[in-house]
Symmetry: C2
Subunit: 510 residues, 2 copies
């Protein structure tokens, strides 16, 4: 309810203020609210009823953000698809989530048409190219359906530890709390111009965007990441608020297009998914003299950030800089604890599993009661990350208990990639690990054992994987061997041994 009402409020308190300021497109909140209501009316006309699951597949653009809000306005449940998934993965999600309508932009017309044919539950694929958009927004607007706080608002799929994506079921209340936190922690106000640089289908970006909408601020969009486009947006749109992973931050600071005047106007930089190095922070503090720099830690299951490392901990050469390895303290409404294998709280400084509680924690995994039961215990979300708290409640993430790689800000679950590789007939066994990469933080490396009597080339495995999983999950290097994998006493692959081998040999067969 809160977010549809936030759109009306923005149109009421700032009717002539910019809501969209993105390259050629700029429109005020009055017009943006009208368009959202018109798009919702078109969804309704095309059969979308309150409670229906609506999937979206599009690149960042004003019309995409309006479409997401319009789906809520019409009372639908959002299922935003990661544009980098394979066709097979998208098909799995559409079936699993019981999606009844898929909306795609012009970049995904072919994929959408094919999915529309394949998936029985879909009534078809709605193409929201620019011509259709122009027609849709000319329709008479509808009144918002205004869902209740505990109704389902979205199912956001993340990679699964069991090898299949899991659908994180989030309510309107979850999003309301997440948006309120983002609005406050990032100090969004009516003067905010937030650049949607990460993709909108990621909760990290969508959630910050909702905070901007709560504050009746303005949205700017990049449909792909490039330093040239980044600086164009900063200059054209007067961007004030950024979300950039450390790798992206380094990229824009190193770019030949670097524009110091544009950087100097930035008031806020949010980052996450990896710590920032002291060297990069030093450069950032110089480049962004006005910016509050903040780290966030969270996950789709907590509807985004649940901790924040404040600007005061991003000052070098002072007492707080020692906190730079921490992801910060629990943000408003969240509680953290670290527990041992018996679910007993660990004393400060002792690592255990990080658990999270609060009003933004997901309702559960969609249609996966067993996974939900494992993830939610007595109201606590079991993050699958290992870490410890210090005496002052600062959280330090030391390892991921769930077998996951973070590469360029994307979560990649090893089990998904392993499942894909294992489907090749020449593969006897395999293990996927994350190995250090100077630019992406981590990259995907696969150790593959071939069946006796078979041969297998990197290129063949590469093509095989590309057909099954999104390109960003495809291993960047392979170690193809004929002997077995190192196993623990209980028969589990010893990935730490594989990582050591990799570091000693610096890569495998390529």
């Amino acid at each position: 309810m809160l977010l549809t009402s936030a759109i009306r409020r923005a149109a009421s308190i700032r009717p002539d203020g910019l809501a969209i300021v993105s390259g050629e497109q700029r429109r005020d909140w009055r017009e943006t609210a009208r368009r959202v209501a018109a798009l919702a009316a078109c969804l309704r006309e095309q059969g979308v009823r309150p409670g229906d699951h609506v999937a979206t597949l599009a690149l960042n653009a004003p019309k995409y953000y309006e479409l997401l809000l319009a789906a809520w306005w019409a009372g639908a449940v959002l299922v935003p698809l990661n544009t980098r998934l394979s066709q097979a993965e998208m098909g799995y999600i559409l079936r699993h989530a019981g999606v009844s309508a898929l909306v795609v932009d012009e970049h995904f017309a072919a994929a959408g048409a094919q999915l529309g044919d394949e998936i029985d539950s879909l009534s078809g694929c709605l193409a929201l190219d620019d011509a259709a958009y122009a027609r849709w927004i000319a329709q008479p607007p509808m009144e918002a359906a205004d869902p209740k706080p505990d109704e389902l608002a979205g199912i956001f799929y993340t990679g699964g530890t069991t090898g299949q994506p899991k659908g994180v079921a989030l309510t309107h209340l979850n999003f309301a709390f997440a948006a309120l936190n983002m609005q406050r922690d990032l100090v969004h106000d009516t003067q905010t111009v937030y650049l949607h640089a990460p993709p909108l289908f990621h909760l990290a970006d969508f959630g910050i965007g909702l905070g901007v909408t709560l504050a009746a601020g303005a949205h700017s969009f990049m449909d792909r990441f490039s330093p040239a486009l980044f600086y164009e947006r900063l200059r054209q749109d007067g961007v004030t608020h950024l979300q950039l992973a450390p790798t992206m931050l380094a990229m824009v600071l190193d770019a030949p297009e670097r524009d110091d005047a544009a950087l100097a106007r930035i008031r806020s930089i949010a980052y996450g998914s990896a710590p920032i190095s002291q060297a990069l922070l030093r450069r950032a503090l110089d480049a962004f003299p006005q910016a509050r720099i903040q780290q966030f830690y969270g996950m789709t299951e907590s509807c985004g950030a649940c901790t924040m490392l404040p600007p005061s901990c991003h000052q070098l050469d002072d007492g707080q800089a020692g906190k730079l390895d921490s992801v910060g303290q629990a943000t408003t409404g969240f509680e953290l604890r670290v527990v041992d294998a018996d679910a007993k709280a660990c004393p400060p400084g002792t690592p255990g599993e990080i658990q999270i509680r609060g009003p933004a924690v997901m309702r559960g995994y969609w249609n996966a009661p067993r996974e939900t039961q494992k993830a939610l215990r007595d109201g606590w979300l079991c993050s699958g990350d290992a870490g410890y708290l210090d005496e002052a409640g600062y959280l330090y993430v030391v390892d991921r208990l769930k077998d996951m790689i973070i590469s360029g800000g994307e979560n990649i679950y090893c089990a998904e990639v392993e499942n894909a590789i294992a489907r090749h007939p020449a593969v006897s066994a395999c293990a996927v690990i994350g190995v250090p990469d100077a630019f992406w933080g981590e990259k995907v490396h696969a150790v593959v054992v071939v069946r006796e009597g078979c041969t297998l080339a990197d290129t063949e495995l590469d093509a095989h994987c590309r057909a099954l999983v999104g390109g960003y999950k495809v291993p960047r290097s392979y170690d193809i061997r004929e002997t077995g994998l190192p196993l623990s006493a209980v028969g589990k692959v010893q990935k730490n041994v594989l990582r050591q081998e990799y570091l000693q040999n610096k890569g495998g067969s390529r």
Copy 2:
């Protein structure tokens, strides 16, 4: 749920930071959280079960704030009593709300004991004098009951237009949203020291206090209002955040104890219930060079503020100063509308009834379905106030449709006072009106018609009223007459005629 978790979070992220800093008393969040949990355990031991209604009757003090939080910690529903009510009014509320436990401090020991005897539902009265408090906090703490967001959190009684107080039923979700808004709008952080100058039983004060607790800031308390005590608190406690009605603001600026250094440390002043004059604002801007000055408008039924007039509208000699007559724009999560008698939206500039919607709007009136149905229509709270919106969504309150007087920040419902007067055997008819008062904003004036053959003195009526209603509701002046009241065509007392008569005669028989 959010507020009990906020206490744990504060103890986790700021264990050694001050939570209470009030005269001789100062303690950190670790100890404060422990005391809240120990007080809750004592309530539990004395029979308070989750869902029980617990009334409180006390003057502002650290232990009172801890008690209120402890009642939530134990899962109970708060019924804070206005300390200025008559014994008869308190008895009505205790019965109507089905209160099972009453906790009083040393100032209300006698009243508490008498109410404990009178009210059957009460198991007795729990005295929380300083000796008892010392015993209670030495008990082993309990785990929080952690109520769910949509469970009842409190019943706050306000005067009723029908002559009896109405119990505003508020959920934990209502309080969570209200506290989140207060935290953000007043920019509370860990450095906040908020002075509880208004009484804690008022939602306006309690709600701001919850915002301070969300931010893990500190609380200071005044048990009565006097300029000398005010300046003592400012100096001793390092107060940074104030809530002061314009009358109180004028009082402290005029006081001989005025301490400009202490005023200069104030970072935030919130006010409400009456607009601030340009003259007073000018003095305040001089006296508080660092303060953000903000006006709020709201009611118990909206769990506190639903609009805010920002600091930028409190600058004199600039374009925005013209907004000073406005109560501001809808705060985050709230929507406002102004409707005519047919519930149609009025165009900008046209007055109608102010209606409010949002996640902090009450569930309804306790045990009063007919009143609830009148107050809540399609999710909109009918405020009973008349006003208009301008083109930019600024709200202007022009009159109160409900027959109410605001005197020194207290709401006084005319019907309650009229009911009390009418119970005197010599009274034939009466009408109570608010008349202008330079200091209190409005004061209570009664026009009374005596029965034929009877006589009645002001002093006699005064004593009669004091026995029935709180002292602040007792008329400050009477106009005792033998002829009838001016009636409209439909037989309604024409209070506007009575107001004009008063202004012409400047008072009645005293």
